[in-house]
Amino acid sequence: MPLPLYYFLSITAVNILLSWALYLPYRVAHLHFITVANMAISGYSAAWLVMSLHVPFGWALLAGFALGALVGWIVALFIGDAPTFAVVIVGFTFIFIVRTVIENLPAVGATMGIFGLPNIGGNPETHRWVIMAILAGMLLLTGFFLHRFDHSRLGRAASAVFVDKDLAASLGVNIKGLGMLVQTVSCTIAGGTGVLYGFIYKSFHLDFFTFALVGIAMTIIFVGGYATPWGTVVLAPILYGVPLLFPPAIQEWRIVIYGGVLVIVLVLKPEGFITRRFVATMESFLSGSRKKRNILTKEEL
């Protein structure tokens, strides 16, 4: 597989998984940025296991998932039903603390990072195919999970919480339980994604886990459409791919471009480009059946 194609596909997959990890808690109006901190925690831990303890990659990846789930669950115990702004600041604070801890820990390379991670499968070509296969598997599994979640009672409960928390509570929705569930699953996805993110480049560096990553994921979700997982799938490759076609001088400004696009879309089309109504229309068009009734977001009502 050519290297540019490998990087394009793998980083797009990582962006989709990260955005999905943010999409899921946002179903209950939680902007759970702790996912980026979890990517760093799990990624660095897996790299340390592989490099220092010579643990096989598969086990390190599983450990990354488990660590992500554990951190997510512990934090969710406290903020499972917290207001959005409290969840946001917990996420940002976590990112800052994790970055500070890592840059002061010589065991994980401190500010230098971890370099020279081994090829999975022995050679670079096999390494790329293995990474791509795992990412494809994760995309399919996560996508299937999100689809089932959105079409389940839990998904409807999440929509109710998003529209009106008090109403959802009076209808018997366990708001804290639901919040904890989506936050923990989100952190699990982020944990595994963090491990793969570093193994794509065969290195880990603090620059991988900056606030810019939060900005990229936020742009993907809100421009693509926060009410369905499909917006992320459509926008992630466009957002990552299109700037690559521009000259390097313009590519440098991609965060400004992302920010500009985010602001414009929020002002002109706050529900994003791929809405639930659009997905329902496409589903009925493809299946040839009558349009299904769907729970719509506030903008779509």
Binding site: F85, A86, T93, T100, G259, K298
Partner: protein, 294 residues
């Protein structure tokens, strides 16, 4: 003991700046009904404009200060229609969407600063603003003019701001909207115009904060806004969103805490410790210590 006193004085200077930031943030939250997460990034942008004007004019202090304040007011007023449009689209006040919009604005500001000014490197303010010569030195205690000015102007600004809020007609209008927007409209308070005043007023405040921060820190870097933004939102949440008095107490406390930790813990750990304490308080009391005014 001397070192502790020095750090407390330093902490009061820093704390008074946090108080001003949190007050501006809370005013926008209560009157304009937005979470302007990137308000500190606007402040850092003003610091850069002040630095630029000082450089161009050969350290002309009044011009630098005026430029800093003007740029902050301008950004706030330019962003006001965007926030109003987002809220109008949603047909009701939606604090979360305004927060995301503000984060988008913050992304742009931070990246523009890291590309367009001084090649993305940190900027240093000239001595006539930062004032790094010690004017009081008793044993270990060394107080520079920048610290004294920022502390004095900070205290005066906080006092004037609270005086304006609690002792003047516009202040009463601000508080009336904060308490009950519909009731305020019924008694004839122009909601939109008062909202715009709040953008302008917080812009002026932002400019003053920018100058104070420049005097206290003596330097700035593009990521400073993000770091301060997290602290300001954390202070607001710990105090209780929209709670002005709570913001005063927690802002001062954070400033003193941070300064003391910096005095005894080396390197980047000092900021992390302040963040850990804030995180623990938010995790235990996500709705704040003093109660939210929303």
């Amino acid at each position: 003991m001397q070192e502790l006193i020095a750090q407390v004085i330093n902490g009061l200077s820093l704390g008074s700046i946090y108080v001003l930031l949190v007050t501006g943030f809370n005013l926008l939250l209560l009157v304009a009904m937005i979470i302007h997460f990137s308000y500190p990034q606007v402040v850092v942008f003003s610091m850069y404009i002040t630095w630029l004007v000082l450089r161009v004019t050969g350290n002309n202090l009044p011009l630098g200060v005026i430029a800093g304040v003007a740029s902050s007011v301008l950004i706030n007023l330019l962003s006001a229609p965007l926030f109003q449009k987002v809220m109008a689209k949603r047909e009701q006040v939606d604090i979360n969407s305004t927060m995301v919009l503000s984060m988008g604005i913050g992304m742009i500001i931070t990246d523009v600063l890291s590309h367009s000014f001084n090649g993305g490197l940190a900027i240093a303010f000239p001595d006539n603003l930062a004032g790094d010569t010690a004017i009081v030195r008793v044993g270990l205690i060394s107080i520079v003019s920048g610290q004294i000015w920022s502390l004095a102007v900070g205290i005066v600004s906080v006092a004037l701001f609270f005086l304006l809020l609690y002792r003047t007609r516009p202040g009463r209008a601000f508080r009336a909207i904060a308490e009950d927007p519909n009731g305020a409209r019924l008694v004839g308070i122009p909601i939109l115009r008062t909202g715009l005043y709040s953008y302008a007023l917080t812009g002026v405040l932002g400019g003053i904060i920018a100058v104070l921060l420049s005097m206290l820190l003596g330097a700035a870097y593009p990521g400073l806004g993000e770091q301060v933004a997290h602290k300001v939102l954390a202070v607001s949440i710990i105090a209780g969103l929209g709670n002005l008095a709570g913001g005063l107490v927690v802002g001062l406390f954070l400033g003193i805490l941070e300064a003391i930790v910096q005095g005894y813990v080396s390197g980047s750990w000092s900021n992390a410790i302040a963040f850990v304490i804030m995180l623990v308080v938010i995790l235990v009391k996500p709705k704040g210590l003093f109660g939210t005014k929303l």
